[in-house]
């Protein structure tokens, strides 16, 4: 590969790459994100390739293993372009048929199409599928357009064009002004305006200045950043390059979890490819701007996603936060001015630059612009990654994009913002999703986790789960977080075990406020949120546990009994096998009984019964 020595050189090379794409060739785009790979997509990719080779069809079609398409619930996903034909739950045996019927003869295969659960209608094109309809996938949408291991694929969709534009015609301060005008806010949790951060780092005294990409995503159930790094690593690099140019930085780091092996592989390859073309390294595109990026793999501590702990980790010390009374923009990594943004924030930068701040500003609400990617998980029909404009309502995300709650159950709450976010009840489902609104509701945007809970979720138990996670992940430096979160969890334990005491709720509230006020970093500062928000919205459930010794959702084992309803049980015997303690007795087609002495409240019978004959009290 030749090195590009001027911006013009770059644009020439880019048009060359664009021209080399044969528009008549059909693309069989197979999602090879981590979710689909777990379904066994690699075999599917190999199968398609082998079939094409066997039939000698290389000139008419190509297989593209792309990044995550978002609709993980329906993987493995195959997209046929042109036409945007959307096939879901595709198996290896479907490959020859797809090639034969759809690619060669333009027919759709009914059984692979997505069926709308409400109307029963079969949907042919991706953009008509309910899950995608309301989304605006500026960032995630690129995933299906490229093979993440090919820099040329990225160049062909205009990639690195924003960098070339900036290097050839924009002054660093103008870049920062553009980002400020767009009001791009940090996607990692805090929502701090990225442009201001860049500006402070640019103006800070110190050399070198560092630019860091925080890819230490660790919230349970969240994988937005993972999917961007895996599926479109070059867009993150381009964002960082533009940032570095604006700030005046020559050194960058990507701090990525080692538990994301595909992300590490793809970003490493992307850096190599960009370096070969002269897009990373010394005198980029022949200008005075030089910038290089190193990858730092995290050891798996959640707290290392906190900026000062992340710096400590890069410096080779234990990942322990320090007080941030002096901003990282002044003294961050190695005590030098440092600008740290999260993966999604960096991925937004090329978009802002190429489409302009005015355009970017047109999306979203007054103080939250652009789109946000959420990992929609939990008790939801359409599990997956969604990218929506700021200001969309929770109801639209959960019921229209997410397809509602499985098994016709009732929605109870949605937790946004990761483990230290809050749980939002049904009455606020019509609230717009943006930084300020979620904070008002006692939750937060966080990095974009969205966990949906149904009526069978106990809010005390869920608060305990998140608190336990944070207790395990607390670094242990400051007292309120280390000891306080632990003691709050001990109180929740006893409430769930039926030993809750009068005054426990008030103690939790008091502790929660003091921990939030007194902790050293944001982990402790926000750790009480799941407890405080569930007390705020589901206080009666706490009271039921403490006063009545009952778990209304039927979850806390010490507080529930399973019974078989003699009216509805038809003796189908389905509950018989899963019971691990042989507590269920009775013959087929006759009423079953449940021996309370043997029952361990595992709920296996409750889950399998098709007639709601197992009841929980």
């Amino acid at each position: 590969m030749k090195k590009l020595t001027t911006p013009q050189d770059f644009f020439d090379y880019q048009s060359e790459v664009k021209k080399s794409v044969d528009p008549k060739k059909t693309q069989i785009i197979i999602c090879a994100g981590s979710g689909c790979l777990a379904y066994g997509t690699q075999k599917l990719i190999d199968g398609f390739k082998a079939e094409i080779e066997q039939q000698n069809l290389q000139d008419v079609m190509d297989v593209r293993a792309s990044g995550c398409h978002g609709f993980c619930e329906r993987g493995p996903i195959v997209l046929i372009s042109p036409g945007n034909i959307f096939y879901q739950k595709v198996g290896l045996k479907d490959a020859p048929e797809i090639i034969e019927k759809t690619v060669l003869n333009g027919e759709t295969i009914e059984r692979l199409l997505y069926k709308d659960p409400q109307t029963g209608e079969k949907i042919i094109r991706e953009h008509d599928v309910g899950f995608y309809k309301k989304q605006q996938r500026f960032i995630l949408g690129q995933n299906s357009q490229i093979n993440p291991t090919s820099i040329n694929d990225y160049l062909a969709i205009g990639g690195y064009g924003a960098l070339a534009k900036v290097l050839s015609e924009t002054k660093p301060q103008e870049v920062i002004d553009e980002i400020i005008e767009a009001n791009l806010r940090g996607r990692g949790g805090g929502g701090f305006p990225a442009g201001w951060k860049w500006d402070s780092t640019r103006k800070a005294v110190g050399d070198p200045k560092y630019v860091i990409c925080n890819a230490d995503e660790g919230d349970p159930g969240a994988y937005m950043d993972r999917s961007i790094l895996e599926g479109n690593p070059h867009t993150v690099l381009e964002g960082m390059l533009i940032g570095a140019y604006a700030i005046g930085s020559s050194e960058g780091y990507i701090y990525v979890r080692n538990e994301y092996p595909l992300a590490v592989t793809n970003i490493t390859l992307a850096i190599e490819q960009a370096r070969e073309l002269g897009l990373i390294g010394k005198n980029i595109m022949g200008t005075d701007f030089s910038f290089d990026i190193q990858i730092n793999r995290g050891g798996g501590a959640f707290v290392c996603g906190e900026s000062s702990a992340l710096f400590a980790s890069i410096e080779g010390r234990a990942g322990e936060p320090r007080a941030k009374y002096v901003h990282a923009t002044d003294r961050g990594l190695y005590d030098k001015p440092t600008c740290l943004n999260n993966v999604e924030t960096w991925a937004n930068v090329p978009l802002v630059i190429s489409k302009g701040a005015k355009w970017y500003q047109s999306i979203g609400t007054e103080n939250s612009k652009g789109t946000k990617i959420f990992a929609l998980v939990g008790k939801i029909n359409n599990t997956g990654l969604v990218e929506v404009p700021m200001g969309i309502t929770l109801r639209e995300i959960i019921f229209e994009i997410g397809g509602g709650i499985p098994k016709g159950r009732k929605f109870k709450a949605v937790q946004t913002g990761g483990p230290s976010g809050g749980c939002i009840p049904e009455e606020y489902l019509d609230s717009p999703v943006d930084f300020d609104e979620l904070t008002k509701l006692g939750s937060m945007m966080g990095s974009g986790g969205m966990i949906v809970m149904d009526e069978r979720t106990c809010m005390v138990d869920i608060a305990r789960y998140f608190l336990q996670f944070l207790e395990d992940e607390s670094c242990g430096k400051c007292t309120p977080c280390r000891e306080g979160v632990h003691q709050m969890r001990v109180i929740l334990d006893r409430i769930c075990e039926g030993n809750g005491q009068e005054g426990d709720i008030e103690t939790l509230e008091w502790m929660g406020q003091a921990i939030a006020d007194g902790s050293l970093c944001a982990l402790g500062g926000s750790a009480p949120a799941p407890v405080l928000s569930t007390i705020r919205y589901f206080r009666d459930e706490y009271e039921a546990h403490i006063k009545d010794k009952k778990c209304p959702a039927g979850v806390c084992k010490a507080l529930i009994t399973y019974k078989i309803d003699s009216e509805t049980c038809n003796g189908c015997h389905l509950c018989f096998k899963p019971c691990p303690t042989d507590a269920i007795a009775g013959e087929k087609k006759k009423l079953h009984t449940l021996d309370q002495d043997k029952c361990i409240q595992c709920g296996a019978c409750y889950e399998v019964c098709k007639f709601d004959a197992v009841i929980v009290e």
Binding site: A323, Y325, S474, C478, T479, G484, W510, D517, G518, L520
Partner: protein, 237 residues
């Protein structure tokens, strides 16, 4: 003078050197702020959170640790507010749950009108203020001990819980420990600390034990003293 800043603490107008902390400024003005993990000889650490205060600066009010927060022009500090007291009360209750016998903790608790800890007692003794580790590193310059594990299970330990290879048995860790958790003993010319026995050097004149051999070697090396510098004890000199 440009290297001084004006601030108020509890309504009192004060002047403090730029770059100093609120805790230092308060100390200089004889204003009491409880603290446990701070020592003037050590770098500010901000871990115990007992020294929190409420500040108002540029129209923003928040709780900060006074041992790390640097004074600034126009800063308003309140050392006793409801929020501040709640944090301190919680912290002292939590620390008492780790060590209810410590007089230092009990004294602070009394000042905060905390009678006892309402939390489950899980007696470990150590309150994890980190003074031992930081003293060993920053003052002695040895770095023989550190933390192991994290969160609630965090402990001060020697590397791999084994005999500490770098420890010189100087006992500084025990000296700075505010709750007397770290202890050492001396018997028959041997100092025992961190589960390790360290032979002590005898005075060539009176035969009394001076200090652990490793500690004296460390001093000789770092201070460039002659090899026989510690052969004779202070009494016999």
């Amino acid at each position: 003078m440009s290297d001084k800043v004006n601030l108020t603490i509890d309504g009192r107008k004060l002047e403090a050197p730029a770059g100093s902390t609120i805790l230092q400024a308060a100390k200089d003005a004889n204003i009491y702020i409880p603290h446990l993990c701070h020592n003037d000889e050590l770098k500010p650490y901000g871990a115990c959170r007992l020294c929190v205060v409420e500040i108002t600066h540029r129209n923003r009010t928040r709780i900060v640790a006074s041992c790390i927060y640097e004074v600034a022009e126009g800063l308003e500090v309140q050392t006793v507010t409801e929020r501040v007291l709640n944090v301190r009360k919680l912290v002292i209750e939590l620390l008492l749950s780790r060590n209810k016998k410590s007089q230092v903790l009990q004294d602070i608790a009394q000042k905060l009108e905390v009678e006892k800890s309402r939390f489950e007692l899980d007696i470990k003794g150590c309150i994890l203020c980190g003074m031992c580790i930081r003293t060993c590193k920053e003052v002695v310059g040895v770095n023989a001990i550190g933390y192991k594990s994290r969160g609630f299970t965090r402990e001060v330990a020697t590397p791999f819980d084994e005999t500490p290879p770098d420890c010189i048995a100087c006992g500084s860790c025990a000296y700075v420990c505010p709750v007397d958790f770290i202890q050492y003993s001396e018997k028959n010319g041997v100092r025992t600390i961190w589960n390790t026995e360290f032979p002590m050097q005898k005075c060539t004149k009176c035969g009394r034990h001076i200090a652990p051999v490793k500690q004296l070697d460390h001093f000789k090396e770092t201070l460039n003293l002659p090899e026989d510098h510690f052969d004779i004890c202070l009494h016999c000199r």
